[in-house]
């Protein structure tokens, strides 16, 4: 695990390079790269003044991608008949990733009142092909397998919940209250047919036949959240506690990495560390979140 020394303090016209030795060609680019074969390091993005350590993912996804594209460009390899291996970007991979992330969600923490909530960008850390993940997730949403929720702290952050879990928890939350019948009606008539994230006044009143008083009750039950005058987001009842714990935990893990030496932490070591008290959702959940949202570089 050796690091090449930092080329600093030299004028910009001096490019240090290695002499060609036999077949090994590449002149050294002008900045530090960690040699291939390094274990994965997590480093904090952000202000890069001062120490600027470049971290690579080992021989890494980028190199593999380059090689794959090179080979594809030439069509050099005949397509061998392989066994039906699951593609790394296929639908099954996305579903598997969703299930494994949902398993990471601590159900008991909120007295089992919340369905397992996964953030969309956590999927990107398990399945690196972002566009493919988006497409598969959209198709799953159209089929009604999952629902997407606007979580409120970031315009781009969406929460993903399996529809059955969501319905079960909503019914549980509202059981025995007077709005129960209304909520059930809402779940059956509105949730099932249309897969949207938000609803506005016109649609609610005309298409689905809810009145103002009904809508107020739904907001009170936690199924809808106010977006602005006359439109509402679909919401998970009781998600406020989750958001608070999540944001606190995210900040705590980021602070952990920031305080580390050189602002980078070995991933394997981070996973074995004891999580700070603010982290209530579990370290792996937050690690997937940070990697997927590209708040750290790994």
């Amino acid at each position: 695990m050796s690091f090449l020394s930092v080329v600093r303090g030299l004028g910009p016209n001096v490019t240090t390079h290695f002499r060609k030795r036999g077949r090994c060609l590449k002149p050294l680019p002008r900045e530090l790269t960690s040699s291939s074969g390094d274990p994965a390091w997590l480093g904090v993005l952000g202000s890069e003044r001062g120490r600027r350590d470049v971290i690579s993912r080992g021989p890494g996804a980028m190199e593999r991608r380059r090689r794959r594209l090179l080979a594809d460009a030439f069509g050099a390899h005949k397509r061998r008949r392989r066994r039906q291996e699951p593609e790394p970007e296929g639908r099954e991979a996305v579903e598997g990733a969703l299930h494994s992330l949902a398993a990471l969600f601590p159900r008991g923490l909120f007295d089992d009142a919340l369905p397992p909530l996964v953030l969309r960008h956590q999927l990107y850390s398990l399945v690196p092909a972002r566009t493919a993940v988006d497409q598969h997730l959209n198709s799953m949403k159209e089929e009604g397998l999952v629902r997407l929720f606007q979580l409120g702290f970031d315009t781009d952050a969406f929460g993903v919940v399996f529809t059955e879990d969501y319905k079960a928890k909503v019914v549980e939350a509202v059981a025995g209250k007077e709005s129960e019948a209304l909520v059930r009606r809402f779940l059956d008539s509105v949730l099932t047919p249309c897969a949207d994230i938000s609803y506005d006044m016109v649609r609610m009143m005309q298409d689905f036949g809810f009145r103002d008083a009904d809508i107020t009750q739904l907001v009170g039950a936690g199924v809808l959240t106010v977006r602005d005058a006359g439109s509402w987001w679909l919401a998970v009842p009781g998600a406020g506690r989750f958001m608070k714990a999540f944001l606190r935990g995210r900040k705590a893990v980021l602070a952990l990495i920031q305080k580390a030496r050189y602002r980078e932490v070995l991933l394997a070591e981070l996973q074995t560390r004891r999580p700070p008290r603010a982290v209530r959702l579990g370290l792996p959940y937050h690690i997937h979140d940070l990697i997927g949202a590209q708040l750290v570089r790994w």
Partner: protein
């Protein structure tokens, strides 16, 4: 490679296929080369670069000190080690030099006799290359962020100018005055670009998060405004309706066939749009760091398969495949923020200018044998046929 050549020789393959494959291989192996350098003359950050479309030989660069320099990229010395020298320059001592930072330079699309430069001193100057005198000067009320002249236009000589005011000015070279104004944006216009497919279609990007496509022949407003949610009002909050990004839109680039448009914004996102319908193709490039308050100029490759986008990413250049959104590599080499990059499609070279006052040339690396990924029992290296070894060098020797 030999397979490609023999297939082309026998007529089994289209000639274009060999060219595309080799171009792609060369772009994938872009790196800094100790043998190629660009002469360092600028005393401050470089904001813009442009390579002339006729021969791909001369490059213009505009700096934050108002200086415009013309480089010759061609290597006529018989040595592989070559520094691209400056042919001439509009320096600080020139009587008509721009007073403030030059934001955009562009060659006249049809020959190298003329070039245009626009600057923060609220002027757009048309220069005669041979005498280095301004042939015409257009004055505006606000600082000029960007200008562009259509590369394919034969029926008009309009230069679209984006300034601090929300109006897009179209200046006519023939008459020497500002002939049209396009109204529709609400804040300053940061980037403009003509379509390389239709000579009357113009795309403009503004700080109000909107990107509009215009047909300049129409008297009424724009053709359409790009909407990142594709009309699904449910996804956005209502004030974000009809916006291309959730922040200022900094950069615009059409793909070489003009069918798609790439935009980058300060919300750290890059989006690919279908330029004929205005639909967001929803390709996800991840986080594309963008902290520039002015425009950034990025480039898209031409003649490769898949096409690559070279986007300045803090002090590196990120290379993405355009249609699938994968990050291929980060080109590291600059010491400070990269502001602009241009792609020379004849030799598959990339030139990038940054705030550290240097222009770097990224040149395809010398050929290596294509690695056998999945065949562990591949031939040991020393028994590689000398016919596979590349006798060409990566720098360009003429003749």
């Amino acid at each position: 490679m030999l397979g490609f050549i023999s297939a082309r020789q026998a007529g089994l393959d289209d000639p274009l296929r060999l060219r595309r494959a080799e171009s792609t291989r060369r772009v994938l192996s872009l790196e800094l080369n100790k043998d190629r350098d660009v002469e360092r003359i600028h005393g401050s950050g470089i904001n813009t670069l442009d390579i002339e479309p006729v021969e791909g030989r001369y490059m213009l660069s505009g700096g934050s000190d108002g200086v415009v320099i013309l480089y010759d990229l061609e290597n006529f010395s018989k040595k592989p080690c070559y520094t691209c020298k400056a042919v001439c320059s509009v320096g600080r001592s020139h009587p008509d030099v721009h007073r403030f930072s030059v934001e955009t330079v562009q060659w006249y699309p049809h020959d190298t006799g003329m070039f245009t430069s626009s600057s923060f001193d609220k002027t757009l100057k048309i220069w005669d290359t041979n005498t280095l005198q301004p042939a015409d000067i257009f004055n505006f009320e606000g600082t000029v962020y960007s200008h562009h002249m259509s590369p394919i236009a034969t029926k008009h000589c309009l230069i679209a100018v984006g300034t601090k005011s929300p109006k897009v000015h179209l200046c006519d070279l023939k008459s020497g005055s500002c002939s049209h104004i396009l109204q529709g944006h609400r804040q300053e216009v940061l980037a403009v670009s003509w379509s390389p497919r239709y000579e009357h279609v113009l795309a403009t990007a503004s700080a109000d998060s909107r990107v509009k496509l215009w047909d300049v022949r129409r008297a009424s407003g724009c053709l359409f405004t790009l909407d990142q949610h594709n009309g699904e009002k449910s996804k956005a909050s209502s004030e974000a309706a009809n916006t291309a990004h959730n922040g200022r839109v900094n950069g615009l680039c059409f793909t070489s066939d003009g069918l798609h448009l790439l935009t980058v914004g300060t919300d750290d996102r890059m989006r690919l749009w279908n330029s004929s319908t205005g639909q967001n193709t929803l390709v996800n490039y991840g986080k594309v760091c963008n902290t520039s308050r002015k425009g950034i100029k990025f480039a898209i490759s031409r003649g490769c398969n898949p096409e690559f986008a070279f986007v300045p990413y803090e002090s590196n250049i990120a290379v993405y495949t355009v249609y699938s959104g994968e990050l291929i590599t980060m080109l590291r080499g600059h010491y400070s923020t990269v502001d602009c990059c241009v792609f020379q499609s004849d030799f598959q070279e990339l030139y990038s200018g940054s705030k550290d006052c240097t222009i770097l040339a990224w040149v395809p690396a010398l050929r290596e044998p294509v690695p056998e990924e999945d065949n562990e029992k591949s031939l040991p290296l020393q028994s590689l046929n000398p016919a596979y070894e590349d006798a060409w060098s990566s720098s360009d020797d003429e003749g």
